[in-house]
């Protein structure tokens, strides 16, 4: 567990009474009870719970890829809920970074191109995007793998590339979905250290959804979720 006494700046990501119901009428299923939730700059929050508890739904809502049926999500002090699709894309691009359980690197692109992807989407020139991506890879000790395709890399290396992609655009928050689930213990530890470092060093927030108890060691705060209810 991280330093509980640490104080954080204004929230970089907030969920205000966010909840989610799937279906309507008699078929309605509540997967997330309304709850409020805030992530401060430099803070790592771990959301832990068993499969089907609603933690991935919460992450999807916080990541602006799923709309809440109740409540609002605020990113960097700006209300995001209800914005048009392309506005949400822009917020995701500029303020959020994602790390997925299955890495989700584009297999046709090299490691360098995968890392440069958010920058290219943000309109950076090819040269600038490559330089910044190269620099990010060097910081994470992956420069030697820059021109390899994802399938040529180990799981741990792919996840570190994914972290580089998540932070290269200097987002306010990194959202991680089971980042260690597909990795062996050593690779998992390496990835967790990297995540902690990338958050503390840059004063950005992180939300990590996991059922892996090892992740708790880098958490500043742990939120337990069970049957769609928060227990922090």
């Amino acid at each position: 567990m991280g330093d509980q006494a640490r104080t954080y700046l204004e929230p970089v990501l907030e969920g205000r009474n966010v909840g989610r119901v799937y279906g309507e009428g008699d078929l309605a299923v509540r997967v997330l009870h309304p709850a409020s939730f805030a992530v401060g700059a430099g803070e790592v929050i771990v959301i832990s719970g068993p499969s089907g508890s609603g933690k991935t739904t919460l992450l999807s809502i916080l990541g602006l890829v799923l709309s809440p049926t109740e409540g609002e999500v605020w990113v960097g002090g700006r209300r995001a809920t209800g914005l048009p699709r392309d506005e949400l894309s822009k917020i995701r691009l500029s303020a959020l970074g994602f790390v997925f359980q299955q890495f989700n690197l584009l297999s046709g692109l090299s490691a360098l191109e995968n890392v440069a992807l958010p920058l290219s989407l943000a309109g950076a020139t090819a040269v600038s995007a490559r330089e910044r991506a190269q620099s990010a890879l060097e910081r994470l000790g992956l420069a030697a793998h820059a021109h390899k395709k994802p399938r040529q890399l180990s799981g741990g290396q792919q996840q570190r590339i994914a972290i580089a992609r998540a932070i290269v655009g200097d987002p306010l928050v990194v959202l991680c979905d089971e980042p260690t689930a597909s990795l062996d213990a050593a690779s998992g530890d390496q990835v967790l250290d990297l995540l902690r470092e990338s958050v503390s060093g840059e004063q950005r927030g992180a939300v990590i959804v996991t059922h892996d108890e090892r992740v708790l060691r880098i958490a500043d705060r742990v939120v337990r979720v069970s049957d769609g209810r928060f227990d922090s």
Binding site: T56, L106, L121
Partner: protein, 368 residues
Amino acid sequence: MLRIALRLLLDQPSKSLGTLLGVVVSAFLMAQQLSTFLGILGRVAAFVDTAGADVWIASPTTVDTDITESVPLRYQAVAMSTDGVAWASPLVQGMSRATRPDGVGELVKVVGVEGPRYLGLPASVVGNLSRPGSVLISAADRPLYGDPVPGERLEVGDRTMIVSGFFSEVDPHGNYSYVFANVDDVRGVLALAEDRATFIVVRVRTGVDAEEVAEALRVRLPDAKVFTRPELRTAVIGHFMARTPVGVVFGMGALVAALVGSLVVGVTMFSSVVDSTRDFATLIAVGATQRQLIGLLFSQALLFFAVGSSLGLSIFVLVKLHATSAPMLAPWWLFVGVAASSLVSCLLASVVAVRRVLAIDPAIVFKG
């Protein structure tokens, strides 16, 4: 975005190759079908195009150069005395048979032209009709008649004529070929009266509008049908199109080629998107806008178009260069037309893929 589009395509080489092949075959077939169609139309109109006549005086029942009756020879004098006319000559034509060395009678259209100007004769003649009884045959038909050299005999109808040269540019488009001879000889072959001709062909003076001369002749010869060269050409092609399925066959061929190309691109691009659903979901989650996703797929379609149509048209050019006897015409606008059609096909086809991508739920990226 173009670079990302290209890399995603290269990541699915067999699928991309299949799509590319579809565009290549489609562009080639469109070009080949349209070119052959134009080539056949060119052959249909070649007799009129190469005759060197600006105005044609024909019988009032004339539909085209094959369906016509004779006109009085006195129309020649009327034409000669019309303002703007440089000269006028009779042209006699009709169907007959030329005997091959094996004894088989080959169907020929015998065209009689009058010296010394020989108006109606293609400019591409090697040889002449200066001696009575001489005949010019198409260079392409030489093998048909035992590859004769000038001076050899050829039976045309019931007459023995002497091969005196060869012409090109007027190639057959039907089941007959052309032979040219002196007008008097052809009258004999066809048993046409001396005071009759099939057409009176007119050359106008330099700088004179053929349309004005034709109009004057219509006034002076109310019982005749007077065509300018473009009018007769249109009539010939119009009749050919109306009476034969050539237009439908080649039009359908070109259309089917375009549709097949579009279908192949559409199906394979859609299939690629389905296979890459997770990649596209990742792009959306990371922050790609709808416009960027559409741009990416359109970029892929443009790549398929650029490479596929270039290859398809290059193969077409190679085939055309080697198939010299095939009736193919390829004006510059055919290439532009086929390229434009390929472009539209590829872009329309990519719309299916775009719709699929825009329907992807980015939340699937969180599902292991």
